[in-house]
C-alpha cells in the first residue's frame, strides 16, 4: 500500500520553520522559534549557509513539558522581552513547530503582548513544523509585507520583484545576482529581491514593482497576497538557460501590459524518459528547458517533473516508480540511492532544501540564462 508518510531510503525537504528563518534572515529582525529544541540547530547547521559569518538573530524558545501542559505562555513572552531589550532588533518574528500547533498556541495574541511590552513590531507566523519550507517562506514573506510594505507607494513602470528567494533554493548571493540578471528584460529593473541582498527599506517598497517574479513556489503566498491588495501580476519560472530566460522575460512584459499571471514553463505530461526532481517551479522550468534543447529532439527525450507536496513531501513509492521509468534523472545527488537501473544516468543538481549543506559548494548557478543543460545532457554519467 502506498503511503506518503514512510521513507525507507530518501531524505526529507526542509521544514516551514527553516523557511521563516531563512527569508527574514537579512532584514534586521530577531526570529524566535517556539519549540523545545532541535529545529534551531537543524536550521543553523543544514539550511543556513550564512550562519557562521553573520550575526543575524535566531533563537529557540526551549518550550518544555510543563509550559506546554500548563499553557504557560508567560515563559516565552518574558524570555523574548528580556532578549529583545538587550538586542534591540528592528522587529521580532514568532514562529513554531508541532507542539505549539497541537496545543493551539495563540501566535497572534502572544505577538500582540510582546509588542505591547517591548514596543517592537512582532510578526506572528503560525507554522507547525509539519509542512515544507515553501509554506514557511510564504507565510513569513506575507506577514512581513503586510506589516512593513507600503501598498500606496507609486508603481515604477518596467520594474519587478523577485519573491521567495532564499539560500534554500539558490544557495548564495552570487547565484541570486545571475538570477536577477537572467530574468530582467531589457529596459527593466529589479525593484526588490525578497529577501536576499536587499535592505529592509528596499524590501518595504516592494509594492513599487510592476510585476512579481516567482523563481520558486516559495514566493506564491506573498505574490497572491500582493495581487489581492494591489493587483500585482506574477510570473512563475526559473531562467534555466536561454530558452527559459527568454520565456520569463517575455512573460514579465506581457503581464505588466495586461495584468495577468503567467507561467513561463510548459504544461508537462507525467510520463517521459527524463525526470526532474525538485521544487515545483524549478522542476517544471528545468523540464521545459530540457524539452526545448536540440539534444532532446535528436534523442527523443521527453522530460517530466515531480516535486514535493507542501504538506506531504515526496511520496517515495510514486517517486521510485517515476525514477524506474526514466532514463535520465535530474536531481539532488541524495536521490542516487533510489536509482537501481544501471542504464539510468543522473545529472546532479544539488538542492539545499533537500540535501542541506552537504553539496553546498557544488550547487551550479542553474538560474542563469547561460546555464547549458544541453551540455550536461551530452556529458551525463
Amino acid at each position: 500500500m502506498s503511503d506518503w508518510h514512510t521513507h525507507v531510503f530518501t531524505s526529507t525537504y526542509t521544514a516551514d520553520v527553516s523557511g521563516v528563518c531563512s527569508v527574514l534572515y537579512e532584514l534586521g529582525g530577531m526570529t524566535v522559534l517556539h519549540d523545545p529544541s532541535g529545529c534551531n540547530s537543524t536550521y543553523t547547521t543544514h539550511d543556513e549557509p550564512r550562519w557562521y559569518d553573520t550575526k543575524s538573530l535566531m533563537f529557540v524558545s526551549g518550550l518544555d513539558e510543563m509550559a506546554a501542559v500548563m499553557g504557560d505562555d508567560s515563559v516565552v513572552i518574558n524570555d523574548v522581552v528580556k532578549a529583545a531589550a538587550d538586542l534591540k532588533p528592528r522587529f521580532i518574528t514568532l514562529c513554531g513547530a508541532s507542539i505549539p500547533h497541537i496545543i493551539a498556541f495563540d501566535y497572534r495574541g502572544v505577538a500582540h503582548l510582546i509588542e505591547e511590552k517591548t514596543g517592537i513590531p512582532v510578526l506572528p507566523v503560525p507554522t507547525d513544523g509539519l509542512k515544507s519550507y515553501i509554506s514557511g517562506v510564504g507565510l513569513a514573506s506575507r506577514e512581513w509585507i503586510r506589516r512593513f510594505a507600503d501598498p500606496k507607494v507609486p508603481v515604477k513602470a518596467h520594474s519587478m520583484n523577485l519573491l521567495g528567494v532564499t539560500p534554500i533554493d539558490f544557495a548564495d548571493q552570487a547565484h541570486v545576482e545571475v538570477l536577477k540578471k537572467s530574468v530582467t528584460p531589457e529596459g527593466y529593473v529589479v525593484n526588490a529581491c525578497f529577501a536576499m541582498g536587499d535592505t529592509f527599506e528596499k524590501e518595504a517598497e516592494v509594492y513599487a514593482g510592476a510585476v512579481n517574479v516567482l523563481p520558486t513556489s516559495a514566493g506564491r503566498i506573498a505574490a497572491r497576497f500582493m495581487q489581492g491588495i494591489r493587483k500585482v501580476p506574477y510570473v512563475e519560472g526559473v531562467p534555466i538557460g536561454s530558452y527559459m530566460s527568454q520565456q520569463i522575460q517575455q512573460a514579465i512584459q506581457d503581464s505588466e501590459a495586461d495584468g495577468k499571471n503567467r507561467t513561463a514553463y510548459d504544461d508537462l505530461d507525467t510520463d517521459g524518459n527524463v525526470l526532474v526532481i525538485g521544487e515545483e517551479i524549478y522542476a517544471r522550468s528545468m523540464a521545459t528547458a530540457v524539452n526545448h534543447t536540440a539534444y532532446a529532439k535528436e534523442h527523443q527525450l521527453k522530460a517530466s517533473a515531480i516535486w514535493p507536496d507542501v504538506n506531504e513531501g515526496l511520496n517515495e513509492d510514486d517517486l521510485i516508480k517515476r525514477v524506474n521509468a526514466a532514463q535520465i534523472i535530474i536531481g539532488d545527488p541524495l536521490f542516487r540511492n533510489i536509482i537501481h537501473n544501471k542504464e539510468t544516468s543522473m545529472i546532479e543538481i544539488p538542492h539545499e532544501g533537500y540535501s542541506g549543506r552537504i553539496y553546498h559548494n557544488n550547487v551550479p548557478q542553474f538560474a542563469n540564462c547561460e546555464f547549458d543543460i544541453e551540455e550536461r545532457l551530452r556529458e551525463r554519467k
Binding site: M1, D3, W4, H5, T6, H7, V8, F9, S11, T12, Y13, T14, A15, V32, P36, S37, G38, C39, N40, S41, T42, Y43, T44, T45, H46, D47, K55, L57, F59, V60, S61, G62, L63, D64, E65, M66, A68, N78, D79, V80, K82, A83, D86, L87, A97, S98, I99, I102, I103, D128, G129, L130, E312, G313, L334, N337, S355, G356, R357, I358
Partner: protein, 431 residues
C-alpha cells in the same frame, strides 16, 4: 548585558534556565543519530514531523549512512484522524519489507508530538515483536520537550542497552557503558583491568551484534560520563549488574580512589602506590613542560571537551596556567570543586555557552588564546585549540598526560577552526 559572570558572583545552584537559546556553529558533540549508528546491525526509524526529521536525516546523510535510517513522517492527518499507531506500525512493516537486509535490531524513535497525542506506541512495539520475533525492537525517544526529566542523550544511552537481557554473569567481564570512544590508549583504568585479566566490553569497539549482546554477561557496568548514569542505574535494576561511576576528575587522589574501589569490587589487586606515584610524577613532568612552553598564554575551556571543566580549570590554575574562562552548560562537578575553584580564581569568567547573548559576543580577543574544546575555540576565535569532545577516551593519569600533549600540539600548530568545528559528530563513524 555581559555574556559572562565572574565565578565569585555565581552560586553553585547556577540557574541553567537561560531563556532563549542560541545554536552556535560548533557541531562536534554527538546527537542521537551518531549514538544509534554505533550498534552494529541496528536500523534506526524516526517517527516525527518533518521539522524534526530533517536534522537526523541529514546527519545520517553526512555520515554516508542513509542505509542505516528510515523515517515515518507525522502529518496533519495523523493529528486529525488519531491514527499515529497505525501509521507507525504500517510504516515499520513497510520498511522491514523493503530493506535489502533484515536488521537484527530496530530502534524506533518517537517524538514530542507522540507524548502529547497520547499515542500508545508500546502496544505497537508489542505487536511488532510478535510479528518479527527475529528482530529486537527498542523504543527510543527524540522528545526534547521531556528534557527536564529525560534528556535525549542520557535517555538514548539507556535505551541503547535495553536490548540486553538478564543472563549469567562472568566475574572477569565488565562493561564500559556510554563510552563512544575507545579507552585503550589513554586510560589507566583500562590498562589496569586488562593487566589483571578483566575482559572489558565497550560499544566503541563492538563490530558484531551478537558480540555486543554478550555485554549482558558482564558482572559490572562502569560509567565514566554523567549522561550514562541513567543507563547504569537501569542495568543495575534490570540485569542485576553492579554499577560503578568513576569521576572524570583531574584530582590525582580521586583518580586513585576510583581505580582502587573498582579493583576491590572485582577482587583484583589495587594499583600499586609505586605505580600511582610514577604516573603522578609523569603528569607533573608533562604539565611542567607544557607550562614552560605556553607561559602565560590565556587558556579557555568548555564543557564539550571534558566532562568536568571546572576540575580541569582548577588543575591548570594550580599548575600556574593563565586560565581566563570556562564555557559551561551546567555545573557537573561536586560542590567542593566549584568552591575550591572560586577561592583560587574569583575572577574566572563563566560563560553560559548557549545563552542568547552569546550570538552577539565579541569574539575578538587581545593576544593569543589556547582553547580546549570547540566552543572555547569558536567564542575566542582561535585556531589554537584542542579539538576533542567528551574527553575522547582519556581517563586518569594517562588521560592528563595525553591532554598535555594535545595542548602542546594545539599551541604549536594552528587548525582550521571554522571548518573543523562545523563538522558534525566529532570522531564518529557509522558501523
Amino acid at each position: 548585558m555581559n555574556e559572562y559572570q565572574l565565578i565569585k558572583d555565581v552560586t553553585y545552584e547556577y540557574d541553567a534556565d537561560i531563556g532563549l537559546a542560541y545554536s552556535s556553529p560548533c557541531r562536534g558533540i554527538w546527537n542521537i543519530v551518531h549514538i544509534g549508528t554505533q550498534i552494529p546491525g541496528c536500523h534506526q526509524i524516526y517517527v516525527c514531523p518533518t521539522s524534526c526529521l530533517r536534522g537526523v536525516v541529514l546527519t545520517t546523510a553526512e555520515m554516508h549512512a542513509m542505509d542505516r535510517l528510515s523515517t515515518i513522517t507525522v502529518g496533519e492527518d495523523n493529528i486529525l484522524e488519531g491514527n499515529m499507531e497505525e501509521t507507525l506500525h504500517d510504516g515499520v512493516v513497510k520498511i522491514i519489507q523493503q530493506l535489502p537486509e533484515r536488521p537484527r535490531m530496530i530502534m524506533i524513535f518517537i517524538s514530542c508530538i507522540h507524548q502529547f497525542m497520547a499515542a500508545n506506541y508500546q502496544r505497537v512495539y508489542g505487536i511488532l515483536r510478535k510479528e518479527y520475533p527475529d528482530i529486537d525492537f527498542v523504543d527510543a525517544y527524540m522528545d526534547p520537550i521531556m528534557r527536564r526529566k529525560t534528556p535525549a542523550v542520557p535517555s538514548l544511552t539507556r535505551q541503547t542497552y535495553r536490548v540486553l537481557q538478564p543472563a549469567e554473569h562472568l566475574a572477569s567481564q565488565v562493561n564500559y557503558i556510554g563510552n563512544w570512544f575507545p579507552t585503550e590508549e589513554y586510560s589507566d583504568l583500562t590498562k589496569h583491568l586488562r593487566a589483571n585479566g578483566i575482559d572489558i566490553r565497550e560499544l566503541s569497539t563492538e563490530t558484531d551484534y551478537d558480540h555486543f549482546k554478550q555485554m549482558q554477561n558482564s558482572a559490572m557496568n562502569i560509567t565514566y560520563h554523567k549522561y550514562a548514569s541513567l543507563a547504569g542505574k537501569d542495568m543495575e535494576i534490570r540485569l542485576n549488574q553492579k554499577w560503578v561511576q568513576v569521576h572524570m576528575s583531574f584530582d590525582y587522589d580521586v583518580i586513585a580512589q576510583d581505580m582502587n574501589h573498582i579493583s576491590e569490587l572485582l577482587k583484583i589487586p589495587a594499583v600499586s602506590p609505586t605505580e600511582i606515584q610514577a604516573q603522578i610524577q609523569a603528569c607533573e613532568d608533562a604539565v611542567k613542560e607544557l607550562k614552560q612552553l605556553v607561559g602565560d598564554t590565556v587558556i579557555s575551556l568548555d564543557y564539550t571537551a571534558v566532562d568536568e571543566p571546572l576540575s580541569l580549570a582548577y588543575y591548570l590554575l594550580k599548575h600556574g596556567f593563565n586560565v581566563e574562562s570556562v564555557f559551561i552548560e551546567v555545573f557537573t562537578e561536586d560542590e567542593k570543586v566549584f568552591n575550591d575553584l572560586r577561592a583560587l580564581k574569583p575572577d574566572l569568567k563563566i560563560y553560559s555557552a548557549d545563552n542568547w547573548n552569546m550570538r552577539v559576543m565579541d569574539r575578538q580577543h587581545a593576544g593569543s588564546v589556547l582553547a580546549i574544546g570547540q566552543k572555547a575555540a569558536y567564542y575566542n576565535n582561535t585556531n589554537n585549540f584542542v579539538d576533542i569532545i567528551w574527553s575522547a577516551g582519556m581517563y586518569g593519569y594517562l588521560g592528563i598526560q595525553h591532554l598535555c600533549e594535545l595542548m602542546r600540539d594545539a599551541y604549536l600548530h594552528e587548525k582550521d577552526m571554522p571548518d573543523l568545528i562545523q563538522h558534525k559528530g566529532w570522531g564518529c563513524c557509522a558501523k
